[in-house]
Symmetry: C2
Subunit: 206 residues, 2 copies
């Protein structure tokens, strides 16, 4: 998985070296914003973490806020790519949902700054926060529609069901990813398996 492709929304540096530098700054920003929060975070500290000169920062980003917004988009793409990779060629939507929950909990455990950064976006860059979830919801809705067309799940209300399922994932990720790691991610996914399986199949039965 080429993480650099997640930076498509920014001015793309022309050289591979430039793209690498831009990515290093974003990755340093993830640690800085995650550990210190937006207001305490400093560009100087980010460039030190990234091991680049302060002047270099401004080649790629105009401000701390622009970098933060870029990071929110980056984290959304990273989460979706990680989940998509794990879902892989799931034979059907039900299997995909369960693998998705497992992947999201694992992602949260491996990226503990994610919730703080996205949560803080609600205050620092509310439009980026909404966009973060809007993109998730649209992709989810389209997946549910495709699965309904194939007859794997009940059809209808895909948008509302997408928001409900995202919420499930986010809260399972929050509790079992950040606060309670006593069970494995696959145990958690299995525990809510029936809720999802029967819930999505609905009157189509099992």
């Amino acid at each position: 998985m080429n993480q650099l492709s997640f930076l498509d929304h920014l001015k793309t540096p022309r050289t591979a070296r430039g793209r690498k530098t831009q990515a290093k700054i974003i990755q340093a920003a993830e640690i800085e914003f995650g550990e210190r929060g937006y207001h305490e975070a400093s560009i100087t500290s980010i460039t030190q973490r990234a091991k680049v000169a302060l002047g270099t920062f401004y080649v790629y980003f105009e401000s701390k806020e622009e970098l933060f917004r870029a990071l929110v988009i980056y984290m959304g793409k990273l989460a979706r790519a990680t989940i998509a990779e794990k879902i892989g060629k799931a034979p059907d939507r039900i299997t995909a949902e369960r693998r998705g929950i497992e992947a999201f909990i694992e992602f949260t455990r491996a990226n503990k700054n994610n919730y703080r950064i996205i949560g803080e976006a609600q205050f620092v860059a509310e439009d980026a926060y909404r966009e973060y979830y809007r993109v998730f919801a649209e992709a989810y809705r389209d997946n549910l529609k495709m699965s309904a067309e194939k007859g794997e799940i009940e059809a209808g209300h895909e948008e509302e069901r997408a928001w409900a399922l995202i919420g499930m994932n986010v809260f399972l990720g929050m509790n079992y990813g950040l606060w309670d790691e006593t069970k494995s991610a696959s145990e958690i996914a299995a525990a809510v398996g029936d809720l999802i399986t029967y819930g999505l199949k609905g009157s189509k039965g099992s």
Copy 2:
């Protein structure tokens, strides 16, 4: 519904007048913290909104942080009481869940500051944030267990299902309570009705 009883966790003023003053400060804090955020919020402005003297504030609260924590607890109790009232004497868990979603979306539409305040708690008072959801999750888990014992829903994994259902509620509330009010709360609850009904009944069928 007596909102004053939500303040049980604080030093309870001895007089009815004192309890009323304390409640006025909390309600003013809801507006101040919701509109300006924790860091910009000021005790002076809160006392002005509440129409009480600055000195009066310190009779009831030690600091801005103590008031904020009290507010988070208050909002949790208010949300649960509002939902419980709406669920009322629902004949079974499935009906209760659907009424609960409807009530929560309506609560969000009527209390738009709720998400900002709870969201900010994640940064300002993380323990209060965790406690806020832990209390919800425990009550939810116990309700699911009781319903499973009555045979209304499938038994098992009540804790995990509780977190999943809370997430559903929170995200439906966020999208349809704050961002998209084109449909009524009851339409949204109906749209996810099968997901919940079949999901909770599981292999017990319908």
